[in-house]
């Protein structure tokens, strides 16, 4: 048999055949899309028929109608005569407020507990372990109910409020703190913003200078000075009208000062304590992931312990920590929706009231989902950007 005599077979003409994987894939995909399309069409047509049968309006026209219900806590102007759209915005701001504050406090507390769990001190390590195990194995909703019951049932009334330090009152109406008041406040906030921008710029400049000349700029001290000096300058520039607003008992309740309502305090406490237990585990596993040899090598280069942690260990630990930390932040934000169970007016609870009044359930739930998707995607985009910045640079 001589292969060279045999004519080279021309590739067979492409025919439609079930044995062609490309054809099969096309058929499967078309079938899947068709099935999903059919299900969606079935649900939508049912829904439209149901809505027509129940005389429920559709569309987002209700957003501009008058809401007519009061909201207990609002950072932006709101009254019952405002529109539904405004009410939902108030709810969104409340959600963002508790989520942002919760993320900051839970990160600090969780990091401390995570480090404490690794402590060489037996007692500290065991206490941290007990905290983590208890807090992460009890449902968050139950913890919220617990804190709320503790505040509203077991705390004294305003007249017998506990007064651990001047200007701070703890009662079943929540926590009262002294606040700042006056025209200077805006100026001081502007000063703070200027300070933050200046520190970021300074950090870039210091990094470039160190790369070029090897000189180290004392960034920490400079940043501290800026943070203190800029708001102080703002206060002086404004002419200095700033007063301390102390809460005081008048009649049956407090006036003045800053209030943390029982709902907000319970929600914040529950979110922070629950999430910090998870963050502690993330931090612990991140630090444990750094090889002991890294500590020893850095020490043998003559670096002090603080510098070892900052320059060698933390950059490596952060690579392990950031992705699970991102999902903890997302969890905290989504868990803030449990506010509805204890009556804190977050977006879920406001939309819930709205859809009970208008009957427009579909629009309401779409608004909730869109809001959470936007917030979740923003947090994960930011954390992915940060993760990319600290990731190991390879070839």
């Amino acid at each position: 048999m001589t292969p060279q005599n045999k004519p080279v077979p021309s590739p067979p003409a492409r025919r439609l055949s079930w044995n062609d994987p490309g054809v099969r894939a096309l058929v499967y995909q078309a079938a899947a899309l068709g099935a999903v399309g059919l299900v969606v069409w079935f649900l939508v047509s049912n829904t439209l028929a149901n809505l027509a049968a129940r005389n429920i309006a559709t569309g987002f026209g209700f957003l501009s109608r008058e809401a007519g219900f009061a909201i207990g806590e609002n950072l932006i102007d709101y009254s019952p005569s405002s529109s539904y759209g405004r009410a939902i915005l108030v709810g969104l701001v409340n959600t963002l407020r508790v989520a942002a504050l919760g993320i900051v406090v839970a990160t600090i507390l969780g990091t401390l507990i995570g480090i404490a769990r690794l402590s060489k001190n037996w007692l500290v390590g065991k206490l941290a372990a007990i905290y983590v195990e208890v807090m992460r194995n009890v449902p968050l909703l139950l913890q919220l109910f617990f804190w709320y019951a503790l505040i509203t049932e077991n705390m004294p009334g305003p007249r017998q409020a506990a007064n651990p330090m001047p200007g701070v009152f703890i009662s079943n109406r929540g926590l009262k703190l002294p606040g700042l008041e006056g025209d200077a406040l805006d100026w001081m906030l502007a000063g703070l913003a200027v300070a933050i921008v200046a520190i970021v710029a300074l950090g870039h400049w210091a990094g470039r200078r160190q790369e070029a000349t090897g000189k180290v700029f004392p960034l920490g001290r400079a940043a501290l000075a800026l943070i203190v000096a800029c708001p102080l300058l703002g206060w002086l520039a404004s002419g200095g009208s700033l007063a301390l607003d102390m809460p005081e008992l008048r009649g049956f309740n407090f006036v003045g000062g800053i209030t943390l309502t029982p709902e907000f305090a319970a929600l914040l406490a529950g979110l922070v304590i629950y999430t910090s237990a998870f963050i502690a585990e993330v931090v612990r596993s991140g630090i444990q992931a750094v090889n002991l040899g890294q500590w020893e090598a850095a020490g043998s280069l003559g670096l002090r312990r603080g510098l070892v942690l900052r320059l060698v260990v933390l950059p490596q630990a952060l690579r392990v920590i950031v992705p699970p930390m991102t999902s903890q932040y997302l969890n905290l934000t989504k868990n803030s929706s449990l506010a509805v169970a204890i009556g804190y007016p977050d977006i879920v609870s406001v939309v819930n009231t709205t859809l009970n009044q208008t009957g427009q359930a579909i629009e309401g739930i779409l608004i909730i989902m869109a809001a959470y998707l936007t917030v979740s995607l923003s947090i994960s985009l930011f954390m992915n950007w940060y993760n990319k910045r600290i990731a190991l640079v390879e070839r």
Binding site: Q29, N50, S119, N137, F145, A149, A361
Partner: protein, 366 residues
């Protein structure tokens, strides 16, 4: 070996400063000034908290009071409230004389969960264990056959509902999640896109919004005149929610399988489904068992959210017990009681998962 005066004779005890309680305390608790300070702070914390808690929970607590008045007079916890209400908290409004049925159903569900944890059952037999277990639970809870009276599921409540929502949830979400994970790794763009959209959409929104959706939107989705039960609606929402998280975990397992395994399967002439069933999934699922246990723990805790749409689970049963006007104001006791129940389940499962992780790791190390 040359012996000299300075050499330590073999078998002699270590110097007295390095053994015993005092040496342990010195090395563990007081090795540096900072450490000593931390120890003192911790001891102070323990001394502040533990006696107060013991006093509240045991010494000053009232276990036997007949009514709330008597209970309020004691400074400590009112466990008499729990003694009075434990049947309501555990079994909700299930008919009182029939409450052995939810008790037995709960035990069956726990037995099914425990059996799933045993490696002996990690094969097809597990499927039969689950099917039999779920069937027995259905018969016990509903009744209507074998001489048991029929109990409609609006009267179910308490611990069995929590267990049913989580075990049925994981049982149905698991196959769905595996399919989603396979779909997300599919080479067909349309199928991949559908799975990615589903997974990211579900993971981006809170469970509460899905529960709301199931309670207000599901009735609108169905043809006119057709309705489904409230408990089933919540169960569907939980299944849809858990499937997205299971899908992401299983995808991690699929990614950890080397490409050679897929190619090896292909070169043997196996079809896609045979490859997955015989070669890839058995390896991938073994890797993700510990994170799957983690998902089950989260799911078990998250079933408490059904309170918000008014399903009578353990948490809402506790709230119902609290709403009795004769026994007002014992919220902390009730929540501590059901927290303990949740804790026992979640803690034992997380311990199991840690032990399993260590054992599976050992299996991979050679």
């Amino acid at each position: 070996m040359t012996s000299s005066d300075t050499a330590v004779p073999a078998g002699s005890p270590p110097p007295s400063g390095h053994v015993g309680a005092w040496a342990w305390a010195r090395s563990q608790l007081f090795s540096s000034p900072l450490n000593a300070l931390l120890t003192i702070l911790s001891v102070w914390l323990v001394l502040m908290a533990v006696p107060a808690v013991v006093d509240w929970a045991l010494l000053s607590a009232n276990f036997t009071a007949q009514n709330a008045q008597e209970c309020r007079q004691s400074a400590g916890a009112c466990w008499a409230f729990i003694a009075e209400k434990h049947r309501l908290i555990l079994f909700g409004t299930y008919p009182y004389e029939e409450q052995w049925r939810p008790l037995l159903a709960s035990l069956v569900l726990i037995a099914v969960i425990v059996a799933s944890g045993m490696r002996r059952f990690w094969n097809l037999r597990l499927l039969w264990v689950w099917l039999a277990g779920l069937a027995i639970v259905a018969v016990l809870m509903w009744g209507g056959v074998l001489g048991l009276t029929y109990v409609e599921n609006s009267r179910w409540g308490g611990l069995p509902v929590t267990l049913i929502l989580s075990t049925f949830g994981i049982a149905f979400a698991f196959p769905f999640g595996v399919l989603l994970a396979l779909g997300r790794r599919s080479r067909m763009p349309a199928i991949k896109a559908l799975c990615v959209i589903y997974i990211e959409l579900i993971r981006g929104v809170p469970l509460i919004s899905l529960l709301f959706m199931s309670s207000v939107m599901l009735p609108l989705f169905l043809p006119v005149g057709f309705s489904i039960d409230k408990l089933l609606r919540a169960q569907i929402a939980i299944i849809l929610f858990a499937a997205a998280y299971i899908a992401e975990t299983v995808r991690g397992g699929l990614q950890s399988i080397p490409k050679g395994q897929y190619e090896g399967g292909e070169s043997l002439g196996l079809s896609y489904w045979q490859q997955m069933r015989i070669i890839v999934l058995p390896q991938a699922l073994k890797v993700v068992i510990p994170p799957l246990v983690g998902i089950f723990i989260v799911l078990f805790k998250d079933t408490s959210l059904v309170v918000i749409i008014g399903i009578f689970d353990l948490t809402l049963a506790a709230k119902a017990a609290l709403s009795d006007a004769a026994w007002r104001g014992f919220g902390v006791e009730a929540y501590v009681f059901i927290s303990l129940i949740y804790f026992v389940f979640c803690f034992s499962m997380s311990r199991y998962s840690q032990a399993l992780e260590r054992r599976l790791e050992r299996g991979h190390k050679r």
